[in-house]
């Protein structure tokens, strides 16, 4: 079984600073694998281990941050057998459809892929759409919000929590599945994983140009903050609680 685990590398939100004019300063931001993408890598590894005869290929479409050896090693240490990247400076800012289109071409090049697994959403845009759009482009069975994946020979059976119930669905392969952020607990790589990562194969795919965007980006600004009163009290718990209670009762 050939399983592809997709991930996006994006700037860490807590390192981003808002300037007084509300523009965003990304200079100090560290580029990391998306939080929710770690669930995709973990789900792929766990499934591969269950199947036995299986390979997990990491796939990421991004900018020059992907050329960082430390970053690819980080990805490989988390359970991937190999790594394939598509690098284009338009990709970090790409829309879901543009990204999905590039990933579809990359999946085609990787050939013989049985299953593509993605996370709930990227850490930066969180549109929650790349998996959905990728599946539609490939014309493969596609599901989002998948919590568990059980291999059943030529298909997989998945559980998918919806707002009012849990759907159990048989999915024919090849397929595209986006997993929830609660699907698993991503492993923390040990020293052995980190050392092994350096020896795993990585390839850069050439898949052609990124499609034109379908909207014009006007601005990216810091979110407007609601004005808060910022009253902070320290001191004995009983006094603080009494003061807070008075405030609450007045609401």
């Amino acid at each position: 079984m050939r399983i592809v685990a997709c991930f996006k590398v994006s700037p860490e939100a807590q390192d981003i600073q808002a300037r007084p004019d509300r523009s965003l300063n990304l200079d100090r931001a560290v580029w990391k694998i998306g939080t929710y993408d770690l669930n995709a890598i973990e789900a792929a590894r766990q499934l591969a281990d269950q199947v036995g005869d299986a390979t997990v290929i990491g796939l990421s479409a991004g900018g020059s941050a992907l050329a960082n050896a430390k970053l690819s090693k980080d990805a490989l240490s988390r359970g991937l057998d190999e790594l394939a990247t598509v690098v284009d400076e338009a990709l970090p800012m790409a829309e879901p459809f543009q990204t999905a289109d590039i990933l579809a071409r990359a999946v085609g090049q990787l050939s013989g892929v049985d299953l593509v697994i993605l996370g709930a959403g990227s850490s930066d845009v969180y549109a929650q759409q790349v998996g959905n759009q990728l599946g539609a482009i490939l014309g493969w069975p596609t599901l989002n919000a998948v919590e568990t994946i059980a291999p059943q020979g030529d298909h997989v059976t998945v559980e998918r929590p919806l707002e009012d119930g849990v759907q159990v669905v048989e999915v024919a392969l090849p397929a595209v599945l986006s997993v929830t952020s609660g699907a698993n607990t991503p492993r923390i790589p040990g020293m052995r994983d980190v050392l092994a990562a350096g020896k795993k194969p990585t390839t850069t795919l050439e898949v052609g140009p990124v499609l034109a965007p379908t909207a014009r980006l006007v601005s990216e600004l810091a979110s407007e903050q609601v004005d808060r009163r910022h009253i902070v009290i320290e001191g004995a718990a009983a006094d603080a609680a009494a003061e807070l209670a008075t405030y609450l009762k007045a609401l």
């Binding site: 709930a120 959905n132 539609a136 596609t142 979110s223 603080a240 609401l251």
Partner: protein
């Protein structure tokens, strides 16, 4: 503006989206998947209930949008609607966008999206392709448009979801939580050492008449509360009158879910916790001492 189509499988979501769309003063059509006529819609196309996965309607919806020359196609933000939106968008060779706001002038459409875990907001002008929008709560402008029932007719469309077979749908055991409609919410975080200690927060919630909610680690790390109760960019986003954050540090991703609350109160023992910068009223103290005293004082 050219027409707007609302696609929904839930009557309440359909009505809310149609109501918002009516504000743009144009023809509003609705596809009611397994439902009935949507109040306010100029035309509702209905499909039989229980016809399998609603996601199978992607191709007929894409065809309808093209045939109708629609400017916008609106979806709710639930799981199935999101998947359907993505499948429709790919067929229209555009992106499905999760929007937090929208402005319309003629056929020019500007939308806003949350980025970087709630830290930022991106503003975009849509290109010529029909806009495929996943509409978050409160994203459409409020209107007082008349919601008279319009024409409804059965839609002659055949769903198709090859390779997907629903084996069963199990109802959820716990009660359905609607944090979005709660006026008061008490949120708990990793400041609580043990699951049993959440009782302290429950007591406060009972006194305040508030719903209990939590940060992501409580729902997806230690699993003390169901995922429906976690607040944040990837969880529920609420705008209650009062939000009380207890033992929550206030990471960007969490605050994105609560930053629109009218009043935010924080209780945390770390006076440098980022939550205090976004709170109206903060108590620096040990929740194990503050909460019992507070419950008693209320």
């Amino acid at each position: 503006m050219k027409s707007i189509w609302v696609i929904a499988h839930d009557a309440a979501v359909a009505a809310e989206l149609v109501r918002g769309a009516k504000g743009f003063q144009t023809f509003v059509g609705a596809v009611s998947l397994g439902g009935e006529a949507v109040p306010g819609a100029d035309l509702t196309l209905t499909t039989p209930a229980g016809a399998g996965m609603i996601e199978g309607y992607a191709q007929p919806i894409a065809d309808l949008v093209v045939e109708q020359g629609a400017r916008l196609v609106l979806f709710g933000s639930d799981t199935q609607s999101r998947l359907l939106a993505g499948a429709v968008a790919s067929r229209l060779r555009t992106s499905a966008r999760a929007i937090a706001g929208i402005e319309v002038q003629g056929d020019a459409v500007t939308v806003t999206r949350t980025i970087y875990g709630g830290l930022g907001v991106a503003t975009e002008e849509l290109g010529e392709a029909p806009g495929v929008l996943v509409v978050g709560a409160g994203a459409l402008p409020e209107t007082d448009a008349a919601m008279a029932p319009g024409e409804a007719r059965p839609w002659d469309a055949t769903p198709s979801a090859p390779g997907l077979r629903v084996v069963e749908t199990r109802p959820k055991h716990q009660q359905v939580v609607n944090l979005a409609s709660a006026k008061r919410v008490v949120g708990v975080g990793r400041g609580f050492a043990e699951e049993a200690d959440l009782d302290l927060a429950n007591q406060l919630a009972a006194k305040l008449g508030a719903e209990i909610a939590c940060s992501r680690p409580i729902a997806e790390g230690v699993n003390w509360l169901p995922v429906e109760r976690y607040l944040g960019v990837s969880g529920a986003r609420i705008r209650p009158d009062l939000y009380v954050a207890i033992g929550i540090s206030g990471q960007i991703q969490h605050m994105a879910g609560v930053s629109k609350a009218k009043t935010i109160i924080a209780i945390n023992k770390d006076k440098n916790a980022p939550i205090f910068a976004q709170a109206d009223y903060g108590v620096v103290g040990d929740l194990y001492e503050v909460l019992p005293a507070l419950v008693q004082a209320l």
